[in-house]
Amino acid sequence: MKQTAVRRAIWRPFLLAGSVLATLLVWGSDQAAVRVEPTDSVGPRTLEKQTETAVIRDYLQAWNSLSGALDQNRVDLLNRDFVGTAKEKLVETIREQAKLGIQTRYQDGKHDIQVVFYSPEGLSIQLVDTVEYDMQLLDHEKPLRTQHIRARYVAVLTPTEVQWKVRVFQAEPE
């Protein structure tokens, strides 16, 4: 009896570490791999590290919002991260999806981001993202097809009171 208790005590840290590792792996699998090109030559305004971090964080968060909004056909999920033309176009897509009974599930897997322009007055920042993602189409909740996509997105972000929001979001031929 005493031996069993000792064995349990020995294994407990390993079990705990194992479960933490497993949790991290599961959590990690949902996170896209992100690579950001060096921003030393971005201009004309100097891009401070803090600004760069905030822009990348808010841009990736925008992908999450987009994914949830298009999956659930919920326009309100776009409010946090999109403004202007980008938001208007996504709203239009969601309304059309809802009308047709369609859902689309976007799962971004890999981002290769390059900040290409930071305007002199600091009011807009542009980045180009070569992104890989899976898109699953559902018609009346029936999955039809999942396609792995690699596309080059151009995004323009503008600052708001507390964060950067995506104003232009557009894929272009690679």
């Binding site: 004309p44 897509t93 976007y106 002199p120 542009q126 018609d139 039809l144 097809r145 396609q147």
Partner: protein, 289 residues
């Protein structure tokens, strides 16, 4: 055993490549389409099917007849982006992809900063122009943008810049003469204009004259101008300071019609100085030397 395994793997590979070919063999798509233009998709086979054209920017669903050309009219697909095409027939599903690119420039968004600045400032005005087509797609094809800053005097400043990823920017100098300037960005016959107010800069030199006026001193500046000769705006505060026998008196006076006037007590041997902002003027010693 080994040969059986090789055969099985080979079979899987052949079946895999065949299926992959079948997915796209019947569906003929354009590689790129210009936003808003009509285009067609060729399908193979027979029977009814549903065509989906899906992207974050737009989504379409059509009931189609396999084997026929599927036509999409002008304006059906107007948002630039990457689109996935899925054709679901009775027994098979095919897919493919294509891109929609922006149409010709039709709108220009000019951000000009600041809207008000001092005269004679090198590179003081910045202009950023984003180019859009008629469907509000960012035009990523390079275009020449002409920036022009035309003020109240002198020749206009002009720069031509090629867009990169749909954006062009420049910096301009403010003119030496105060007044409103028109800042215009132009692509072809599309233009956007902003007004930049150019105001006089800091006073360049400051001089005052002091004379006796009864028991007091009448003090008056000469017309206060910036280094380009523009009159400094009325309301600008000028400070007169008088130091006498260990005492000090200070008077702040706003400029009125370009000059500042005041009266101060007349103390023998007093020193009177004048300043505005960070600019110091002349100093006058009153009375006995």
């Amino acid at each position: 055993m080994k040969s059986k395994l090789t055969f099985l793997l080979g079979l899987i590979w052949v079946a895999g490549t065949h299926l992959a070919g079948a997915q796209t063999s019947g569906l003929r798509l354009p590689k790129t389409v210009q936003a808003g233009t009509p285009f067609s998709i060729q399908s193979a086979g027979s029977g009814k099917a549903v065509l989906y054209i899906v992207g974050p920017a737009q989504v379409l669903r059509r009931d189609v007849q396999l084997g026929e050309t599927i036509s999409l009219a002008a304006g059906d697909l107007h948002n630039a982006g990457h689109y996935t095409v899925i054709l679901v027939g009775g027994s098979s599903t095919e897919d493919g992809a294509f891109d929609v690119t922006a149409a010709q420039p039709a709108a220009l968004s000019l951000i000009a900063k600041p809207s008000r600045l001092p005269v004679d400032l090198h590179g003081g005005i910045s202009g950023v122009a984003y180019i859009f087509d008629t469907f509000q797609n960012l035009v990523l094809q390079p275009s020449h943008v002409s920036f022009q800053l035309a003020g109240v005097a002198g020749a206009p400043q002009t720069r031509t810049v090629l867009t990169q990823n749909g954006v062009a920017w420049t910096k301009m100098n403010s003119a030496s003469k105060e007044g409103a300037a028109q800042f215009v960005a132009r692509v072809g016959n599309i233009a956007d204009t902003r007004v930049i107010q150019q105001v006089p800069g800091d006073p360049c030199s400051l001089r005052m004259n002091v004379r006796a006026s009864g028991q007091r001193l009448a003090i008056e500046t000469e017309p206060v101008r910036d280094c380009s000769g523009n009159a400094v705006p009325d309301g600008t505060i000028v400070t007169f300071t008088e130091i006498y026998n260990g005492g000090e008196a200070t008077v702040d006076v706003p400029l009125k019609r370009g000059v500042a006037r005041t009266e101060m007590p007349a103390y023998e041997g007093a020193t009177i100085s004048v300043a505005t902002g960070v600019v110091m003027g002349n100093e006058v010693r009153w009375g006995k030397e």
